[in-house]
């Protein structure tokens, strides 16, 4: 920042640190979400509903439901994160606030990471906490629950990150709902495979450490790369 050049004397106040900025964004997104308390319950309700659908449409027998439990849980988690994603950047783009953030002179990566974190706190975390309950309803034995909790927690982190990329890419597109799914789902396949695998192993009472480690690796990988990709996409789409 051209500190060497003469200042006009108009620039008062120091710039907050990158961390402070990220905290501010996180706080903003959480406050926006809490302003409508009903919004908070919604990903959960949605998740609960999807879990309800399957027994109705297939079979009410718990012994058979147990077999498809992992598929149902992960499909529901994926769809619930995707549904919420649509709004990750869209609202901010529409009302012009995202443009202002892009023009703030601050690194977009930090801002977007904070937004993604908020998204995970608002959808991924509650999902992870509810998943064990849904699993019980589908006849999964109690000993499998820690594994399910762990794998859904790790998996949703990556899903949120992937979703951030997808949402950033489709910013310029109206009605991006389905296009977003189309972009994000293929990327999400590895998460889905490892996650469902871990869940199935947990349900069968076998060790699920290996797929869990892979899930963790995916999450770390996503955390380093996704914000960069998302920031690039946002910049392009704001042009």
């Amino acid at each position: 920042m051209q500190a060497a050049l003469p200042s006009t004397g108009l620039e008062r106040g120091s710039a907050p640190s990158a961390l402070a900025v990220a905290r501010l964004m996180l706080e903003r997104d959480l406050r926006l979400a809490f302003r409508k308390a009903s919004q908070l319950v919604q990903p959960l309700a949605f998740f609960a509903m999807v879990t309800t659908l399957f027994p109705l449409a297939i079979t009410p027998e718990l012994s058979r439901l147990r077999h498809i439990a992992s598929g149902v849980l992960w499909a529901a988690a994926l769809l619930a994160s995707l549904l919420a994603l649509e709004f990750l950047f869209r609202d901010d783009a529409q009302d012009g606030t995202l443009e202002q953030y892009a023009l703030s002179g601050r690194a977009l990566t930090g801002l977007l990471s904070a937004k993604t974190a908020a998204h995970w706190l608002l959808t991924g975390l509650p999902l992870a906490l509810v998943a064990p309950i849904a699993a019980v309803a589908l006849g999964v034995p109690g000993r499998a629950l820690p594994g399910i909790l762990a794998s859904v927690t790790l998996g949703t982190v990556t899903l949120s990150l992937l979703g951030a990329i997808g949402a950033a890419l489709t910013l310029g597109v109206r009605r991006a709902g389905a296009l977003l799914s189309l972009l994000t789902l293929p990327l999400a396949i590895p998460v889905l495979i490892f996650g469902a695998h871990a869940t199935q192993l947990a349900i069968r009472g076998k060790p699920y450490g290996a797929p869990l480690t892979l899930l963790a690796a995916l999450a770390v990988f996503g955390m380093t790369l996704a914000p960069l990709a998302a920031a690039a996409a946002v910049r392009i789409n704001l042009e």
Binding site: K36, S38, V41, A48, L56, P60, L62, A137
Partner: protein, 258 residues
Amino acid sequence: MAWTWFHRLASPPHVYRIAGRLTPWFAWPAAILLIAGLIGGLWLAPPDYQQGDAYRIMYVHAPSAWLSLMVYTVMAVAGGIGLIWRMKVAHAVAAAAAPIGASFTLATLVTGSLWGKPMWGTYWQWDPRLTSELLLFFLYLGYMGLRAAFEDLQRADRVSAVLAVVGVINVPIIHYSVVWWNSLHQGPSVMYLGKPTMPPSMLVPLLIMFLGFTLFFGAVLLMRLRAEVLNRERAARWVSEAIGGVPSGRWVGEEIGA
């Protein structure tokens, strides 16, 4: 002529006053009936020859289930009236009823599960009646969520009334689900009044409980109704202001103190 009478009766201050006066007339009988029902159901009624003492859960389960359905019907009817005649009090009734209905739906689900474990060996089954009751719970949540999503009370009233009216189809579905789909759940036992399948010593406490729960609902509804009417009172006050009657600010103040 009849209409002016009707509207005066349904005017917020009037409803506020009447509801306040009526509350004890519901609350005390409800309390007495509930205590009588509890004694009858837990103590006096004999154990069931098949289910042993577990069947005593029925005395809280069945009346809760009845309320869960009845309250939704009340909401739908009140919502419909409010929509058609633009009657704020009807909307207030619907708004007041929803949380009560939701809580008893939850009670139905929990007591049913607790009953299911000893009877079916599992807390939960994806049986049509159980599932549709769960969906009724979601519908209540949706109704309250929709209400909460609007800042403007008038709009919340009218929009959620449309939902209540549309959603009322679920009530018969839940009620007849045991008949339409073969279900694990108990078929209608008391409802066929012509041919009771239970001995009177079991049946009478159940009927007492049904009445007690219903009166309880009435009492709580009236309390909530007063609050809802107060929250909607602003316009009513300024109407009387415009008419130039008693400075209504003071007048409502007295009401509040009462």
